[in-house]
């Protein structure tokens, strides 16, 4: 239900973004042109890849195979780190060119959405680290496996949210 609640909260922000966009589509289209789609595209591929790795890791944990699970989770964490690094570079480029969150409504939404999402990436990565430590113990009890599966779903939520954020901010016109 936490996942559903988070999805609903972001959904409200997505709809607010769309409403604001409707009020000044030229501003939003023009501001979007200032973004480099490659940043968003690379981040999408990183998160989708990380989701696949986490799904494979959860299966490995179910089978009780600690080493493959940890390797997969480390790879997913690497994707998360690359995502945050890429996002940081993009933010610095925008801020240094005067396109910060106070520049206009589009960039306000851009930084709010990507900022909130980045917080979720950090929280999700923390859960992945916990999963990595749990995987080290070898075969887990059923309740522990449920915990691992829940943490994995939290990471997939991070991916799902970005899958919606990317086209809204980078591709719509």
């Amino acid at each position: 239900m936490l996942i559903i609640g988070d999805l609903i909260i972001f959904g409200v922000i997505f709809i607010a973004f769309m409403h604001a966009r409707g009020g000044d589509p030229d501003l939003f289209n023009g501001s979007q042109m200032l973004l480099h789609r490659a940043f968003g595209g690379v981040n999408t591929l990183l998160l989708v890849t990380s989701s696949l790795l986490v799904a494979l890791a959860v299966n490995a944990i179910r089978r009780g195979t600690a080493t493959p699970a940890r390797r997969l989770l480390f790879a997913a964490l690497l994707c998360a780190a690359l995502f945050l690094g890429n996002k940081g570079i993009e933010w610095m480029a925008l801020l240094s060119s005067g396109h910060g969150p106070t520049a206009n409504s589009y960039f306000m939404y851009f930084f709010v959405l990507t900022g909130l999402h980045a917080v979720h990436v950090v929280l999700g990565a923390t859960l992945l680290i916990v999963m990595t430590r749990m995987a080290r113990r070898g075969p887990l009890r059923d309740d522990q496996i449920s915990t691992v599966e829940s943490f994995g779903c939290c990471w997939h939520l991070v991916d799902v949210l970005w899958l919606v954020i990317f086209p809204l901010l980078y591709l719509m016109h």
Binding site: I8, H19, L45, V164
Partner: protein, 73 residues
């Protein structure tokens, strides 16, 4: 990955009607959400109520975003 590439190719300038391409991009987005939900979050094995809630939220969100886009331009 393929769905992301489809979104990318439809989303960039290519001479297609921009409203049509944006609607396609948004629809592909929620196809990707469905793929992640079914395959990674294992919703296909989840309880029916949970699936209903998740997909209900997605359908409402997708419909609202596309409708608002088409109405407001």
């Amino acid at each position: 990955m393929v769905a992301t590439l489809i979104s990318w190719s439809v989303g960039i300038d290519h001479g297609m009607d921009y409203r049509f391409s944006t609607v396609v991009v948004l629809l592909v987005t929620f196809v990707k959400v469905d793929l992640v939900g079914r395959n990674f979050m294992e919703l296909r094995d989840a309880k029916p109520l949970l699936r209903l809630i998740f997909y209900g939220v997605c359908v409402v969100m997708c419909t609202a975003l596309i409708a608002m886009y088409l109405v407001t331009g």
